[in-house]
Symmetry: C2
Subunit: 328 residues, 2 copies
């Protein structure tokens, strides 16, 4: 248990919306196909925005809500799944867009693909509890660049955008806290979901002859099998560690992998439909920004209120399963 | 102060050595130029090895030295500056090469470019001190892929390789500990050292028309100016926080940016020559693997012994300054 509190959250969506209908006509699919298969009716795509710009917009939103200025933040962690540049880390670029280029605020990235926000929040909660940092800004900002437009199952799922959260030590009079957290990685599934390019394994000069190396690809069945094998035990163990039962949770906020993945998760884990936070239908899967965006929406829509307990939960490429139970 | 101990370290260098003479003939430089300018007499380049393979070799070296099996590790953090693939994180790929694909050991990446190992060690020390993890494997593994072979100042500096460290809670009878640590980021220097490609800002299809976007570039003078502005105060503050004076330190283990950068650092900070650990002459600058490699060599060469105090110190793209004072 760490006496750590989410002070505020923020969100940024690119202005450019892309509807299911537009994708159907672009991909030559029959009307209704995208809604039926991916469930994503509308997602947003960047139109010139960089990831660090979007991240800074989401961060400003969170700062305004918390009534804080960037100078009252003493650590910036970018928890995106994909960096903006190979060098430097994205957190430094976000710091720059926040006008804090001469501040010295430590800035670095934490990456566990779609679970990066959970891993960042989990890790930094120990540093906050120990007094190392007072107020930490977590930012996840994603641009789904490596989509394979020939793979209609995956390319109709993703969206761009950013989310942010400000985390601090809980005041004495308050009950906000992290009750339990866990992360498990099963790398036998490391190549089930991957984009082989973009790092030091494949030089960008290979793109001309092997563009497919730089595309996102996913073995949906393999991921489903591994998730089915690991999620139920992980979920039960995390609940037990938190000392709560499902009935004590106001909300489960899952990674918005896809509407179908969340439906399966809900059934496997026996989560009541009204307790599962879903934003994929009008955001798409925004990679690591997905969980903090859904958290932001849960708060904005009044579905998660102070004193409520919730679980952040998801799977990611790796293959990893991660979760945090917290009292908001 | 965290009662955390570096149990062991490990290193891996690719078999392929490239000498200053070979580079001089490749680049059409007069004999002696590379030695005089970069001071790197020999560096190692991968010859088929991937970053995660090298990382796993270094990790095995550290495991053997500690007398541990991978199953006794409960967290794997990759602290490379550059990932192997865009998806998933490199730590998962390392876990797989260690034969632990079904272990569930949490695996994720932490990135602050050349300071990634320091940031990872710093952060995870709080989780170890709090009892979240018992034995953590930190791995940094680098392949200097985006070198600009037209920029003879930078392309003669870098080398490939990996290093690892296993970190655990200190036993009651032991005095090993982290005395102080700090990280500061000044993103006004974010674009002084960068590789713009490789993330979601530039699609790999841009390589064909703009290969320079995917190359590492550095404004050496700008970095020198910013480092001169920030390093002395940072160094003094970190020493003060540790409660030690320079005379109490057995060794300063700097990021091996270049021989010249380390010479300037030694003069600016008034570090006696025999107290500065240097491995750049036969390793090159191995990006984030540089500090843990130099730590490994310091231990292997008997320059750092149990009970000795040392400082890990460096600057990185970002622009960041980071350091850790520890009793080994």
């Amino acid at each position: 248990m760490r006496r750590v509190k989410i002070l505020s959250t923020g969100k940024y969506l690119p202005k450019k919306q892309v509807t299911a209908q537009e994708l159907e006509s672009r991909l030559g699919l029959p009307p209704g196909w995208v809604e039926k298969k991916s469930g994503v009716l509308v997602r947003h795509f960047v139109d010139g925005e960089t990831a660090s710009e979007m991240g800074a917009f989401a961060a400003k939103d969170a700062l305004v809500t918390a009534g804080l200025s960037i100078n009252e933040i003493d650590c910036i962690i970018c928890t995106s799944g994909i960096p903006e540049q190979a060098i430097p880390c994205t957190a430094a670029l976000i710091q720059k867009h926040l006008g804090a280029g001469d501040s010295g605020i430590p800035a670095f990235d934490i990456n566990s693909t779609c679970l990066s926000f959970l891993t960042g929040l989990d890790m930094v909660s120990y540093l906050i509890a120990a007094g190392r940092y007072s107020r930490v800004l977590l930012v996840a900002s994603e641009i789904a660049m490596g989509l394979d437009w020939n793979d209609k199952e995956s390319c109709t799922l993703f969206g761009d955008g950013a989310a942010a959260a400000i985390v601090a030590k809980t005041e004495e009079t308050d009950t906000s806290r992290i009750l339990a957290s866990n992360l498990e990685t099963y790398s036998k599934g490391a190549h089930l979901t991957e984009c082989q390019g973009g790092g030091n394994k494949h030089h960008p000069q290979e793109y001309a002859s092997h563009p497919e190396t730089f595309l996102f690809r996913m073995d949906g069945r393999g991921v489903y099998r591994l998730a089915s094998e690991r999620l139920p035990g992980f979920f039960a163990g995390l609940l037990q560690a938190s000392g709560l039962r499902m009935a004590d949770l106001q909300l489960v906020i899952p990674h918005q992998a896809s509407l179908m993945a969340m439906r399966l998760l809900r059934k496997q884990l026996d989560i009541p439909e009204e307790k599962l936070m879903v934003i994929a239908h009008n955001h798409g899967n925004t990679i690591a920004a997905s969980v903090p965006m859904a958290l932001h929406e849960a708060i904005a829509q009044g579905k998660l209120q102070r004193g409520d307990r919730c679980m952040l939960l998801g799977t990611s490429a790796g293959f990893s399963v991660g979760g945090i139970v917290l009292e908001y």
